[in-house]
Symmetry: C2
Subunit: 201 residues, 2 copies
């Protein structure tokens, strides 16, 4: 292996991936052009097709993220039940402020324009993140759907205003301040009273 490459030299593949993540997260799928990604990576546009096939495959490759929701979910579940809201907000901020958050921003930006990306977001939020979390909290299945949507609405709004629209001062607020403000909201959505007569619909 490692054929045709000087040892100790990083392949241009990584440079392309880095540039792709940067461009996709800043502009979304459509506005981020293959040519611009190639330029930022200091590479010929055709290299992208050579390494990744099509633009869509590059997008998927750029989304490959080391973030496993399971780790964070178990972390949120570990601790007193009435502190789950604050712990969830804390985790969300940590992930989205890290480099791994760029992938999320890219998908979310693209979800505004392409149904297939919106479907990706829905699937992830519901089945991968919120459903197992609520199950771990012992929330009845017939309540989980509605409570999960409420949690998603507040957290996606946080992400939208803080990372996409960059509304100040929430975009620059320290984690602790955001946690203090949103924690009780999330806690109520998870385990409090949220219109019990509708649950199960």
């Amino acid at each position: 292996m490692n054929r045709g490459r000087r040892p100790g030299q990083v392949s241009s593949r990584d440079a392309v991936l880095r540039a792709a993540r940067e461009q996709f997260s800043r502009k979304g799928y459509d506005a981020a052009t293959v040519r611009a990604i190639a330029a930022e990576a200091g590479v010929d546009p055709s290299m992208i097709n050579h390494h990744f096939g099509t633009k869509e495959q590059l997008f998927m490759a750029a989304l490959e993220s080391p973030v496993d929701p399971k780790d964070h979910i178990s972390a949120v579940l570990g601790g007193p039940r009435e502190g789950a809201g604050e712990r969830l907000v804390t985790r969300i901020l940590a992930v989205w402020d890290s480099p791994a958050g760029a992938a999320g921003v890219a998908v979310l930006r693209t979800a505004m324009q392409h149904e297939w990306s919106a479907a990706l977001v829905r699937e992830f939020i519901l089945n991968r993140a919120i459903k197992p979390l609520l199950a771990g909290l012992g929330v009845p299945a017939e309540e989980a759907s509605w409570r999960g949507n409420l949690v998603a609405s507040q957290l996606s709004g946080l992400i939208l205003t803080r990372y996409l629209i960059k509304l100040e001062p929430i975009a620059s607020a320290p984690h602790a301040v955001v946690v203090q403000a949103l924690g009780p909201t999330i806690q109520r959505y998870l385990t409090g009273a949220v219109g019990a007569d509708h649950l199960g619909g």
Copy 2:
């Protein structure tokens, strides 16, 4: 006036505007092509330039909305202070479920990709909507900024999940159910305890 047009026949200008609103709100500024708008309006693409100049000017014309935030703000302010949260959510749902909401969806979709649209959203949310509302509630100026951001985070998240991502069941939930769930959250952000040590920063 009315030169060169058969009386009783609506000009193609209105048809273009209608199609533009539809396309812009469904796809955002970039993905909505001039040609697609023209096709939906049953009109030659060059008619758009003839009537509106450029695509950007058409976008601006399509955003001309009969919605005046002032009316809704005074409606929210009219009534007991502790019911302001529920009244605000009620108003938001009414506006965004109406045809006028399409313009908002268009701007918000575009704000994900273009800084100039994001700036438009920031300006509107902060100065036109939330700032006067909080002033009317008698909230001190040094708290208004932070409280306003919190309100924006929850309401923009509602709009995102309900109208853009179309997360179920929140996308189809009756107004009353959403009001019951989000009302207390907004109320706390407006007048409750939200991290008083940070306010004024």
